[in-house]
Symmetry: C2
Subunit: 580 residues, 2 copies
């Protein structure tokens, strides 16, 4: 090594030693003839000192170092006059005896500090410089640590990591595939996997019993803050298990990670029916760091000649405790926020429980005090509370109220990033109706098994069929989901039929899996956790972008390497494709 130590390890126990360090110049300053230079590497920061005892040309060289110059420096470990208790090397400094510039550096386009002055685009273009900043580097160190702990946990439970192929086959289910033209099989394409779903099921048919993989997956969909065209999944599958086993093992994994990485002992995860999650939170991924559950007021508020309520399928309310102080202006502003196209509410009704005990609503015209008292009782209000009410079609109004609840939770400071509230959401519907394609789609994926007692409903009430499917949710974020799979050819064929596949289509697309089910497929099930999201929760970030070393922007571009890009005519010809 060019160095004897890193910039993060020297302390009083090294006093007097001759050492060599390598790193980047963080900053330098002159103080009355003495030059102090902070040199930085991944491991920390060490102060160098050149003073009047130092050789004049060496002092000159030290003074001329620019920010981010890469240097190699040798000298003695000295005790510092002004100690810095904030860093592990803060007790010492290096009295420089020799200095070599390993590489010069132009002035960086933005400050390489914890708080930088660089905008998002500039930092993306110079990602390699942004990655030098402590917060980003720490995210990636954290990510590495989480991955190591996951592998340790699963390995100890006899899971084996098996790599499944990246060049697979395009299928019509799920999201849009990225495809790869084949040169050796002209006119044909590979697809990049949206998940290794069918392969991990085949591994169960092969008897691998417990499989996992931390694996890149791909979806060609329009992007959002928590979506990337390529993302990483912790993909797992087990044989000879029940849903209970999967919940226990992966709850155990999450608890292990919180304990080893963050030193937090989580309680047993609460479990919630999908139907309850929708009823109480309007979401299949409720943020249960705070209550503010929905209360349905239909029975109480209907029949008082208030058309908005009388014509509504659902009237639902939350109690924003302690918010009675909201002014008319604030309430108007909240109403406008709800009317934005992203949410699309038509109006907001409120009931204020004043400090003096009186009740005041925005619909006093229709409801007298006696009636408002019923509202108050249903909502369990106390003086100082504010009840917010939305009305409309059930699914729509639940979604709107979910947004409102989260917004009020944020405003009331109930969504603390250092608090973690996990839960399992269970018993998802098997199918969901798709207006666009005018057929049912699988809510999870076509390989999810229906609850045996619900199979007979497939023909009569397909929307009521529940699946053996479950999601892990933390702080309102879906961290992962899975299901007990179908392992019977006939049931799988029935499922494809209900998804609108002809038997020929089903065989063409998924024949390999259905054939496999005829050669001794064990009962099996699994889960896939979003690794990027998990890391972002641990890092306290809203976006997954900064737990990824080289993310793409919202147009799917890597602006640093300028990709995607044109390819040559010769390449297109070899692949027998052309741009149109």
């Amino acid at each position: 090594m060019l160095r004897t130590h890193t910039c993060g390890e020297l302390n009083m126990s090294h006093l007097g030693q001759s050492v060599t360090l390598c790193g980047w110049v963080q900053k330098s300053r002159d103080l009355g003839g003495t030059t102090f230079i902070d040199v930085r590497d991944r491991y920390g920061l060490t102060q160098l000192v050149l003073n009047t005892d130092t050789d004049a040309s060496l002092r000159e060289a030290g003074r001329n170092l620019g920010r981010e110059f890469v240097i190699k420096v040798s000298g003695k470990v000295l005790e510092r006059f002004n100690k810095n208790p904030k860093i592990p090397t803060g007790d010492i400094e290096i009295g420089v005896e020799s200095l070599e510039i390993l590489n010069e550096a132009k002035i960086p386009p933005f400050l390489i500090e914890d708080e930088t002055d660089g905008g998002e685009e500039l930092r993306a273009k110079y990602r390699y410089l942004d990655l030098r900043r402590n917060p980003i580097r720490n995210n990636l160190l954290l990510r590495h640590k989480i991955a190591q702990e996951i592998r340790k946990y699963l390995d100890e439970l006899n899971f084996i990591e098996v790599e499944t192929p990246v060049l697979i086959k395009s299928t019509p289910e799920g999201a849009r595939d990225f495809v790869v033209p084949s040169r050796m099989n002209q006119g044909e394409f590979y697809a990049l996997p949206q998940s290794p779903q069918t392969f991990k099921q085949l591994l169960m048919v092969s008897g691998f019993d417990r499989y996992f993989q931390i694996v890149k997956c791909f979806r060609d969909e329009d992007l959002r803050a928590d979506r990337q065209p390529e993302f990483t999944q912790i993909d797992c599958e087990m044989s000879f298990i029940t849903q209970e086993d999967i919940l226990n093992i992966f709850e155990g994994m999450a608890r292990h990670l919180f304990k080893t990485i963050k030193g937090i002992e989580l309680d047993t995860f609460p479990r919630m029916q999908y139907a309850d999650a929708m009823r109480l939170y309007g979401s299949d991924k409720p943020d249960v760091r705070f209550g503010m559950e929905f209360v349905e007021l239909n029975d109480i508020v209907k029949g008082k000649n208030f058309g908005v309520f009388d014509n509504a399928e659902l009237i639902v309310a939350i109690n924003a405790k302690g918010s009675a102080g909201y002014t008319r202006k604030q309430l108007d502003e909240l109403t406008e926020w709800l009317k934005r196209p992203q949410i699309g509410a038509t109006g907001l009704i409120y009931l204020r429980h004043n400090d003096d005990g009186s009740l005041k609503s925005s619909v006093d015209k229709f409801y007298n005090e006696e009636e408002l008292k019923k509202w108050s009782a249903a909502m369990d209000t106390k003086p100082g509370d504010l009840v917010l009410v939305l009305a409309g079609a059930k699914d729509k109004v639940r979604k709107q109220m979910n947004e409102l609840r989260l917004e009020m939770g944020t405003r009331l400071g109930l969504r603390n990033k250092d608090q973690f509230a996990p839960l399992w959401v269970l018993d998802f519907p098997l199918l969901e109706w798709n207006e666009e394609t005018q057929r049912h789609h699988a809510m999870h994926h076509p390989f999810t098994s229906p609850k045996p007692e619900d199979i007979t409903l497939l023909d009569t009430n397909p929307d009521d069929v529940r699946a053996n499917a479950y999601d892990m949710v933390i702080n309102g974020i879906e961290v992962g989901g899975g299901s007990i799979r179908i392992h019977d050819r006939k049931l799988q064929a029935l499922m494809f039929q209900h998804l609108g596949f002809s038997p020929e289509e089903a065989q063409k697309q998924f024949g390999f899996l259905m054939d496999a089910f005829e050669y001794g497929a064990p009962p099996h099930g699994g889960i896939a956790l979003g690794f990027d999201r998990l890391c972002s929760i641990f890092a306290g970030l809203d976006s997954i972008r900064d737990v990824i070393a080289f993310p793409k922007n919202n147009s799917g571009r890597d602006v640093m390497i300028d990709s995607p890009s044109k390819i040559s005519e010769a390449q297109l010809q070899e692949l027998s494709i052309k741009n149109v």
Copy 2:
């Protein structure tokens, strides 16, 4: 779990316990009214017994189980009458009390035994059944274990695993890229990485100091036994190091793996100059499990009016010790083998050192006994030895002799799969001339640094410039290779210039890296090891195919899922491409 134990763990300590097992019926046999069934899972095999004490309908059910049926069986652990010391569960059997068929199985298309009757194609189509066989499953278990040990070793040395992107940019250097049309950026393409080379170098510029990744890479090249379109690399990079540091750390990793996985303590790896490897073995990846080094005979054999030798650039020989018994027919057959187009030798000359001490050559017309004694002395022959001689143009004849040496090593049983002979090959040439493109190509890749003392030769003798490049070779297989990289923009630009890039092209393709070198790039270097190859060496296999769960065939097809395949017109339209 549906089971209380696996099929591999019950022994005498469990006698009398009530247990439940799940698994596949390996085989069943009736012996005088008693039915024995072997049930198998990933962990082992357990014998079930149904005898005259067993309920009649249960016995009937047991007798009707077919091979590969998936069953769940409960009963008591009993001591076996005929113990089987070959398996860990061989002392016990399960007296069956209940039996449930979890899934039936059709008769498999080939035997699911260690030695199968299935041909390669059939097994590829039913890969999920082939994966049930012990040898294949064990390869994947081994692979998992090796990966875990690699991560452990590198993690302890402060390497952090960073995931680099899969959707990157096509570049003209190296092998052919797989490309991915972009829907969001029409007319443009991503490329799949042949290696994360530039990204890992950028991570060094970012100060990550020690990086690794076990990562899928892609090359759209025609396939051979040890090539797959997607393969896995152990990719590593370090900053502030010399070549010596890399050799030590990764030799240490290989030694750690051999010790923990195979219980073998390897000696320090020998090191060999590239030039010596070519001179003594005709290969940059010599198999040094055996000697049989090349001896160059030019000085001894020229000038005796034997045109083949007099006109040859190089006359090179090996001593196939103990092979003097080769008959005329065997020698003719060996000559024919050498003349095949794959090798292309024009003829083979031999010298036999007979048991009686006499010397006999195939060119006695031109060389008398005195002269043959000089050959014998040069080749250090003893009675019973056979010297094989090839002559021709240097590069060609070395290649041919390499093939002959390996063939004779195999025939003489000198290439034992349980013996491991690693070495480092050092000081590769920086450049190699490419006849097709009529320019120099980088022998390793364009980011490899030349030896500083050789830089001045770039203009005058480019073929003589040595690189700071190294390969790890085990048993004649290149396991990995790496180099100390260029970290200076000017030198990198000079390198591209010598590779025939205009400054504009170089900037367009690799500008992001050259720009990065201007913002404080540390000296760095690394290595990439072929993970599939490493696993195949540990598994004692010639091909990498059976250390990969779902490999592709020689046409790049996955015959199990039938991929690649046609995609829909709608998909092509969305991507704005068409087949031509």
